[in-house]
Symmetry: C2
Subunit: 497 residues, 2 copies
């Protein structure tokens, strides 16, 4: 028997058990070859990766320490007596092994695998094995089975039978693409319920949640979110409180560091979240461009068909919009700058970026056509009318007021540098990756006022030495980093026409 302790170490998604190397009562070596132990106590058990501690001040020989998430998953109080047994890997992993060797997985196989993953019974390397096996080859039926399994493994929002519940989703990758913050107020003003949850940026300079947080509180519990939608028809909140498709979050935590991103996993990931959120109708935005996630129209078509097929099978009314992803959208990149562009569009400011407005109108129009009362093809005109009449701005102000004030005031970074064009000509391309990288180096999204303000877009003429964009930052180190990186290679191509 060992005494359970919670160690103040956060190992994130990986359950880790710590033993003193001189642990009493066990041959520690017995567990080393397998890399894991099974911890048991009071009818509960946990599989954990094994680490050893060589300092009794951290962990004594009669103790077992669990990392914070492992401690939570085991669910026993500190001081509980526990014992160790050789790990029994989850039975569902046998089918992962078969899949690696070419088998296809049945819906029931996928249900078991996803249930074990959700239950924290897979180590990270087992999750990686599952993801890689699926990345090499997946049938459409497997994508559907995986999506259903992910929905089944989590909670599902209930909208009391209200239909349609509409939503939009962009597959991402385009800086400044904050259409949701314009689409939601337009659709809500029209009266269709649109409960929009968004993520914070992880590798990009801003997520919709980061940008919305410049204007309002986004940290809203699920029950309050449902109230908001009942009252204001829409919301723009951070998705972190809505524990929908928890398997998806776990899979992504392994997918992201591997940067392995397949069409099949993308579709299962997005659609599982949307079905779990109770959406009945969905518009998916797929931007295509040389530096976007999807690089060709052929690739976009394959992705569209997979979305449509799986969506149909799940009973989701789904419309895919393939859009221009050849350059960032709007002018600002970074939360404060993007919020500025969004509000300019909503206010009808003549200087507001036309590309952001037109794109938001296109997507809102497509969503409005989910309303049976809207005549086919009339959606975009209704969307434009709602925007131009100021009703979208009023809806946005209502949503902001209901969500509450932002946790902290965010203002534009006051260290400003203009990056000059190294040549004369016309802007022919803007590299989404490079621009995002520079905005992040400047401090976005943690520093909400940091980022890039584009002064030239594709098609604009520029003279040598004229500014292409401004970098905003707050701290000297970030400012210097971003500037030197931008001067090395601006990310904006200029050529003589």
């Amino acid at each position: 028997m060992l005494t359970l302790r919670r160690l103040p170490i956060d190992t994130f998604r990986e359950n880790v058990a710590f033993l003193n190397r001189g642990c009493t009562g066990y041959h520690v070596e017995d567990f080393l070859g397998l890399g894991r132990v099974e911890v048991r106590g009071d009818g509960r058990s946990l599989l954990a990766v094994l680490n050893l501690v060589d300092d009794p001040a951290i962990l004594g020989p009669e103790e077992i320490g669990l990392s914070q998430s492992a401690f939570r998953h085991l669910g026993l109080p500190e001081g509980s007596p526990v014992h160790l047994v050789p790990p029994t890997p989850p039975v569902s992993f046998d089918r992962v092994r078969d899949k690696v060797l070419g088998a296809t997985l049945s819906p029931e196989d996928l249900r078991r695998i996803i249930a074990d993953i959700t239950d924290h019974r897979y180590s990270k390397i087992e999750i990686a094995a599952f993801l890689i096996a699926c990345a090499s080859f997946m049938t459409t039926e497997e994508v559907l089975g995986l999506t259903r399994a992910m929905v089944a493994a989590g909670a599902r929002l209930d909208w009391d039978g209200v239909r349609p519940i509409v939503d939009k989703h962009c597959i991402g990758g385009i800086p400044g693409n904050r259409t949701s913050m314009i689409v939601v107020p337009i659709v809500a003003a029209h009266g269709l319920p649109i409960p929009k949850t968004s993520s914070r940026a992880i590798t990009s300079p801003a997520g919709t949640a980061d940008t919305m947080e410049v204007l309002a509180n986004v940290d809203v519990p699920v029950e309050r979110m449902q109230e908001l939608v009942r009252e204001a028809r829409g919301c723009l909140v951070w998705g972190g409180h809505v524990r929908l498709s928890p398997a998806d979050d776990i899979l992504i935590s392994v997918e992201r560091p591997l940067a392995i991103d397949t069409r099949e996993q993308l579709v299962a990931s997005i659609l599982s979240k949307k079905v779990a959120a109770g959406s009945s109708h969905l518009v998916v935005d797929i931007p295509v461009g040389p530096t976007a996630k999807v690089r060709s129209m052929a690739e976009a078509a394959r992705l569209r068909k997979l979305f449509e097929h799986v969506g149909d099978q799940l009973g989701l009314s789904l419309d895919v919009a393939v859009t221009d992803g050849s350059q960032p959208v709007g002018r600002g990149i970074g939360p404060v700058l993007e919020a500025r562009d969004v509000m300019a569009v909503l206010r009808g400011d003549p200087a507001a970026p036309a590309d952001l407005r037109d794109r938001a109108l296109l997507l809102a129009g497509r969503i409005l056509e989910f309303d049976p009362a809207v005549r086919g093809g009339a959606g975009i005109a209704i969307a434009r009318q709602i925007l131009e009449s100021g009703r979208a701005l009023a809806a946005m102000e209502r949503i902001m007021a209901m969500q509450g004030p932002p946790p902290a005031a965010a203002t534009l970074g006051t260290l400003v540098a203009e990056i000059p064009s190294p040549a004369e000509g016309v802007v022919t391309a803007i590299d989404c990756f490079r621009i995002a990288r520079i905005a992040r180096l400047a401090g976005a999204p943690n520093d909400k006022g940091a980022g890039i303000d584009l002064l030239r877009k594709v098609g604009d003429p520029v003279r040598r030495g004229e500014p292409l964009y401004r970098i905003h930052a707050r701290t000297g180190a970030d400012f210097a980093f971003a500037q030197s990186f931008a001067l090395e290679e601006t990310g904006v191509s200029v050529a003589m026409p």
Copy 2:
């Protein structure tokens, strides 16, 4: 800048960096989505998985802690100033991603991947991705490229141009199969140099290193091992000091917990070690049986051909022996019991297990035929003559004397239980997995005197209630576990003929 500390935490093959959650000078969140950080200082750098610490008594906000192996890999002294940058995953991983999607890897791709793995630049999930991609499909050329890359990434033993340097390898899985301890003295007595390195058991009840350690010291540095072979023509040492094909050890540390074991990876793993050890001639033993690693003759033939093809390309003279793997070899299972069987064969004891002796003679005979002076087909007769004349025993005693006495005396476990046959009949099968499991539960290999002594083998008649085998153990808990597990299902099938 952070101050470097070595934390007393052993995370094994995974480099882990620990930061205080309130770490000064960095936005910790920037690194969380990517799961890793790159630690830089004094021209050195290290990629490490990121964990957070919430107790300043373990790690302060101006410090960075590295796990023991990570600290060693970075190679800077404690107290060094280091800084963090976003991780740049190894460039070679791009090709792993391509392989996942169906590409084949060139020898140069494999060289770079294996060099980065050896250099501890891959996280465990990246290693898992590589292994799974290779497990789904690998061309013979890829197997060859992988083997060469693994050889190139490590040291290579130099035998001053002496040829042949012979070796044997069994792919494993059969309890009691300790032929090496008979083959080595026979071959050494004949005069062919046979530098045998062996592993300790990880999932089995005994490795050759564990069993040899009952008789002699096996913890021998490389230089001393080379001296032994020069003087005694052979040795039987633990391979842990010989850092050959270090990539293989790293790959195995991820393969084993996943229990994914392909023909291709097996061949690359074994042949890379043998080529790095400077072997010129090799006999590979492939036991086939219903509970062995290889279950059918067809499977054995495929494995044999792959060994032969890759061996030929590497300039290794390779002979494959497909042997009976239908039951354990000899009577004893566990280090002390196996050492007893081996010595009984070497001493010519009439009660020595005939199957162990015959198998060792077969393999030794095949190796002796690598000697150009031995007439084709004459090897086994020479091997028998060396064994029966006592020259093999003398060679073994010389090797034992030169390696030195064992670190501790090992005696047979004195808690003994006989497991009775539940039926009358003839033994028709013995389950290698179950017998190994029971021997491990009894305490083998950590308790060298624990294990199983088989009293009946396949073909032997047995009456109901007569003993099938004896369990030996030293501690009451192990004894009780092994006994109850054996009584539940003995692992020995008895049927009326």
